[in-house]
């Protein structure tokens, strides 16, 4: 007997749930040979708004977790990816990656999560400080997560680049709203399913799919996003910088027209964690 094909309706992972766009719009995704593969949610600015609400709600709870626990959860996310590596590799091959290149990218993505899992309880020791001051005060600086971070991922390395941008932000207790690659959204759809089984509280990472043109202006102006990390072309960079200036948010813009080696050791660093931290300095009086 022949079976009817059971195809999956891709949904995005927002606020710990799998949702369609509130607009009910989708756009077709084709595989490398040009054949129709699936309909991808075409998220709107209202979906972005809802995702930011979900991220803001999850923020305090995530930041209150012990650094050690955040590390455990990030490591477990790596485990989840590792267990479903072949599925992720297949998703990357949809975009034309060779089997070898796809496997290499998945392995690098898992390693990147493990890298940042190791940093969760260590970055504070390097970035925080006790400061010498010329008065009877104990003066120290500690870091705090900024809050909700907006991330806009590039089209190349749709899994590795996305994780490279998300992982350092959540390492320190930020929560994230990320726009996946428009051309290759499927790895992000699968990543959402793995996030859901990784012990990461709902709302810490929210993944949207859709068109950059529709969402970049809202990323720029949304006042509740405290930082933007984006791979963007010159025109988008201008939009993001202008909108961010209005709402006084931090931006780290990576030039889309300059090739980034997402596999390089330089793509992961303590500096990337620092990008989404605020520093708080306290002057504490000490007795003579």
């Amino acid at each position: 007997m022949t079976r009817l094909p059971i195809t999956k309706t891709p949904k995005v992972y927002v606020g710990g749930a799998f949702i369609r766009s509130e607009s009910a719009r989708v756009y077709p995704l084709h595989d490398a040979s040009g054949a129709f593969y699936a309909n991808i949610p075409q998220c709107t600015r209202k979906d972005l708004r809802n995702a930011v609400e979900a991220a803001a709600k999850a923020g305090p709870g995530w930041a209150r977790r012990t650094a050690y626990n955040r590390g455990q959860i990030l490591y477990r996310l790596g485990e989840m990816l590792e267990a479903r590596a072949s599925e992720l590799a297949a998703a990357l091959q949809l975009g034309g990656a060779t089997p070898a290149a796809a496997a290499r990218e998945v392995a690098a993505a898992v390693d990147r999560l493990v890298y940042y899992a190791g940093w969760t309880d260590k970055y504070e020791s390097l970035l925080g400080s006790v400061n010498p001051v010329a008065a009877p005060y104990f003066n120290f600086t500690v870091t705090e997560p900024m809050g909700v971070v907006g991330i806009i991922a590039p089209d190349e390395c749709p899994l590795l680049a996305l994780i490279t941008l998300i992982a350092p932000a959540i390492t320190s207790g930020n929560t994230v709203v990320a726009l996946a690659s428009s051309k290759q959204p499927y790895p992000a759809i699968l990543l959402g399913e793995m996030l859901a089984t990784s012990d990461l509280p709902g709302g810490v990472v929210n993944l949207l799919t859709g068109f950059r043109k529709e969402l970049v202006p809202t990323f720029a102006t949304h006042a509740h996003l405290r930082a933007l990390i984006a791979v963007a072309d010159p025109e988008e960079r201008k939009t993001l910088a202008l909108g961010a200036a209005d709402s006084v948010k931090r931006v780290r813009l990576i030039k889309a027209e300059v090739a980034t080696d997402w596999f390089a050791d330089a793509a992961q660093s303590l500096q990337a964690i620092r990008d989404t931290l605020e520093f708080k300095t306290t002057w504490h009086p000490v007795g003579t």
Binding site: R49, V52, A56, T218, T221, H222, A223, H224, G243, S247
Partner: protein, 312 residues
């Protein structure tokens, strides 16, 4: 239907006023959420909702200072001076004179809960004395709770007599009768209680869903039952009664949906703060946030708006 009280008296009442089609109500209110309110209509709705808010603080930890800041928030909700003040502030009787100092002589009324709020479990003489004291201190509006124990026991005459006594004690103050719908258990009971109240209160007085002190507060469903009761009472007698859902309305979107229910059930005559109010505190800031979004085009962070009081 619950059998905790003699059904005969309820059935006698329902045979006069008609029972509620629960499935019909739930289906009707589910549709309200699908209306698309955009641009000018949305702006109008948001601003109108601001003028309908009874900005509320009802907590044991209320102080004159906290009431003072609540009053300032009611008078001038946001930096933008074009945003209108709220309808009223709603406080406990002991805070009425403090509130009156700040909003006396303005369009913002002082509403006071009374009658042993929220349980209503005090002797009638005590409850009436509380109402008189609040009115003497300057309360413009009194929010009373009905005797749910008597209602559920089927003592409808007692419930009505007590409301009538409070009406008398109010003098010139507007009365809002809190049915506490979460304790009434069914739409039929909510309709019955609405009519018991409406038969003895004056034109311009209100019926109100809840105290905000129980788990279930205003929902579109019980709001709809009460709006239809008001409509039927108005068509039968010509007496226009106001409505105040309270508790659980936290977002601008919810508020707009409630206004749609009012518009489609009672019409434009009820779309003002002499006939419709929201008992809320956190709602106001979400309305301001959406108004600011409409003004600037950018989504706003909730912490950009001054805190009022958080109670329900």
């Amino acid at each position: 239907m619950s059998v905790r009280y003699p059904t005969s008296s309820l059935q006698a009442l329902l045979s006069q006023i008609g029972p509620v089609d629960q499935v019909g109500i739930d289906e009707r209110v589910a549709k309200y959420g699908t209306r698309s309110i955009k641009k000018a209509a949305k702006l109008w709705g948001l601003r109108t909702a601001v003028t309908m808010v009874d900005l509320t603080t009802l907590e044991g930890k209320d102080t004159p200072g906290k009431v003072a800041s609540l009053c300032q928030k009611a008078l001038r909700p946001a930096d933008d001076a074009s945003i209108p003040p709220t309808a009223a502030v709603c406080v406990y009787p002991s805070m009425v004179r403090h509130a009156k100092k700040h909003v006396g002589g303005t369009s913002v009324k002082v509403a006071s809960v009374a009658t042993a709020f929220p349980s209503g479990q005090a002797p009638l003489s005590t409850r009436l004395a509380e109402v008189r004291a609040a009115v003497a201190d300057g309360a413009d509006e009194i929010d009373m709770v009905i005797n749910r124990g008597a209602f559920l026991a089927g003592e409808f005459a007692e419930v009505q007599d007590e409301i009538a006594a409070v009406v008398e004690a109010c003098g010139r103050a507007t009365l809002k009768v809190i049915l506490e719908v979460s304790e009434l258990e069914s739409y039929d009971n909510i309709r019955a209680a609405s009519f018991l109240a409406m038969q003895v209160i004056r034109p311009g007085d209100f019926i109100k869903t809840s105290t905000g002190k129980t788990s279930l507060n205003a929902t579109l469903g019980n709001n709809q039952v009460m709006l239809e009761a008001i409509r039927d009472h108005y068509l039968a007698t010509g007496v226009a009664i106001g409505m105040k859902p309270a508790g659980g309305i936290r977002t601008a979107k919810q508020a707009l949906t409630f206004l749609i229910a009012v518009k489609e059930t009672l019409g434009d005559a009820w779309l003002n703060n002499t006939r419709y109010r929201f008992g809320a505190s956190s709602l106001l800031n979400d309305l301001l946030r959406q108004l600011e979004k409409e003004r600037t085009g950018a989504y706003q962070a909730p912490y950009s708006f001054s805190e009022s009081a958080e109670s329900y």
